[in-house]
Amino acid sequence: MNRLTYLLKRLLLAIPVLWLGTTATFVIIRLGPLNPAAAIVGPVNSAEAQERLERIEEQLGLNDPIHEQYVEYMLDLFTFDLGQSWVQYPGQDTVSLLAQFAPRTIWLGLWAILIPIFIGIPLGVYAGLNVNTKRDYTASITGIVWRAMPNFWLAAILLALLSQSDTLFFGTGWQSFIVETELIGAPDLSNLGTPEGFVTATKQILPPAFVLGSASMGNELRLSRTAVLEIMNEDFIDTAQAVGVSRRRLIGKHMLRNAMIPLIPVVTSEAYVLVGGSVLVEVVFGINGIGTLFFDAMTSGDLPLAGSLMFIFILLTVTINILQDILYTVIDPRIGYEER
């Protein structure tokens, strides 16, 4: 089996995954206790409440037989006719909502992945190279503590700390540090092209990204330390050392490259924090990205919005998985998908 057939096979396998995920969304919203029409009607105790409910249910087609609703829902999704939001943003296309909400979450997710990669992995490698020294212990314990701190707690603490940070950041406080930004709110991504716009958007996303990435940072620190330790005891390292490979080349080429292999799935799987883990951080920092959008859509029974988001999340997840498999073959030539 060459890479192409492998790819095709993986794509075919994605279909039942898509079907299951979108069906589950439909079942949860339409057969569960949520009633989107009631969410639209809002807080009323009135004679009209009932009539209003009925009229909105009729408008949304909620009185049609459930199997007809299901077939229509699935056909729309699979023909990429993603429809309009019912409850959260009535009258707006889910596609345009996605286009407006996704960039903020992607920006947050990107930094939540980059921060651990650039802090967690180097620290882990450093600890691995200095195994069983004080430096190793300090780094390792920090990693465990990081890993253990829950996001909601860390977010609240960081908010409070940065709010009263006049004495840190060279006497200016976080909000005036380098460029003027507000601690809470969505970053402005429209000027990313300009240096000032980039710095502002980055500065604004750093605190939430730091919180979101904190668990991964601990994970990556621990994993890279272990990976380095394992590789260090391999015979080929001794051989390379014996033939006189310099220490820098030994670490850079022979050790790190091999140590990266177990880290790839860890890093790629963290891409999923884009979706699930970001809700809390988005809410606390007022970012209102796609995690919040999905959460609100689910809890208010906004079927077209929740269904479309689910559909796209699954597509993304499957794509990332396939990319990850292909990335393996690039990094480690021994891995292939040919039959043996």
Binding site: L34, Q50, L159, E180
Partner: protein, 578 residues
Amino acid sequence: MGTAETTTAGTTADADNGSADNGDTSGTNALSLSIPEASNFDPVQIKGDGSQIVSDHVFSELFTLPQGGLDPAAQLVTDYTVSEDGRTYTFTLRDDVTFHNGDQLTAQDFVYSWERLAASENSKEGETILEGGFQIAYDTMTETVDGEEQEVYEPGSLAVEAVDDQTLEVTLNAPFFDALFWFAYGSLSPVPEGIVGDIEGYDGEMEYSEFSSQNPVGTGPYEIDSVSTGTEVVLSAREDYHGEAPGPDEIQMQVVTNTEAIYRRAMNENVDVFRLPNSQFDPSKVSIEETRSLSQKVGTYGLLENGRTANYSTWDEAYTAYFIFDCSRVEKPIRQALNYAVNQENFVEQGFRGVGEPAYHQAPPTVYPGGKEAYDQHAQEGFPYGYREAQLDQARTTMEEAGYGEDNRASITLTLYNDRNPDAYSRIADLIRGKAQSVYIDLQIERAPFNTIIDGAVNGNLDMYTLGNGLEYPSAQDMLKFGRPYEGNLVRWREDPSDASQRAANAWETIQNNPDPTEEARQARADAFIQMEEAIWEDAIYLTNYHPRGRQSWYDEVDVPIQTSGFHDRLFDGVTFS
């Protein structure tokens, strides 16, 4: 209407410090608010608190409630007359009003806008003019839905006519004494004729989604500068506004939902005006210096965490929160016993940190006939289940007389919101459960999201549940229309009929039969409202909870007009910068 967690900031961008982020804001007074959501600003949609604040600034109505009072004042009209029979209103429109797109406001715009309200598939507020006491006359047609024939609104049949460009004639189905309030209601705001194509005869100048969420066009003091969906709305003051020039040149509204984030924004002084979240609010830091008409209170709050003292005001939200009994599921002795067993004061103190008034009537104090004094007096003299006290002995006696006792306990389920004030309601529910326990009632507590509760209530699946009603306009009628036995009432009083329910129905008849704006008719209605309140007491169809009060704080850098009541638009055009 809002119980919005609204936070506001005023920043005066300094022209000569060069740090203004984009040149065009230098020298402008920018106010920045945090709002709980921003989704759809179309007047005919049901809106959340945040979208409502945006709409309040962008749109305006024929009439408005003036600062400090509850009598509608002309806003888009110069004059109006009412026909002899009280059904036909003829409005002369101001000739100096323009929409944000430059079009002049004409009577045809109202014909179009109200037809949208009645007939558009995007309208969720059609019953404002098609059902209830205030109804514009219209024709119906028969439509078959799921094999059932139904009478529905016939598009184009609304009795609204543009006599000429400045003269609008509206005929009501029946005279309605509070009609001017409805002409001040947000859903009846004009939009330019033909702006969207969601009713017959119009193609629309823009897509619906653009109009409703990006570029709503109205006659209000502000227009949309930019919208970042779900995150930020920026409004800019209109230069050609026909009314008084607004204070802030720009209002930036940021969507913030998390209470910690709202609090932090206030403490960081990103904001000059704010509402402290309940969890951060300490009633002992309030000092009230002045009480105004309609029970507005003004004073200070402090010290805050950041060492500052803020100004503080509170007002009646025109809302009644209660627990509804489904009378077809919970017998009268149990309802009465629960009423005896609790003290509403405890709800306010323990649940809502003292911000609010214990509720004994359906009508909130501002609209109760005779106002707050009459409200308190009537409750003190007449409330049968203990005014500001619990009467556990009476509760036990009532239960024992109905055959209940230690060996034969009653059991009901109380369903609570888990998405509105969940902490407050948890504390209150514990309180009720404790009391109920001692009067032979086992109370199970369940929690559900608001939309599940309303669904279960309509379908008759709940015994007792949290709910409340915010009034649309300042009249006891808007609350007491629910206080009678009729089909569709959530308390299902009709299914447990009694003398009291009959009295309530009769009193409601009296109100309907006295629609005139005369003093005599007003007195007859006022008496009937009180009869309804007493009938509701007798059958204990509700366990009343409290009347929430709105509150707001601001730093000295801005001067914020005091919000008059929950009926008033949440407008920030009167803010000035010092």
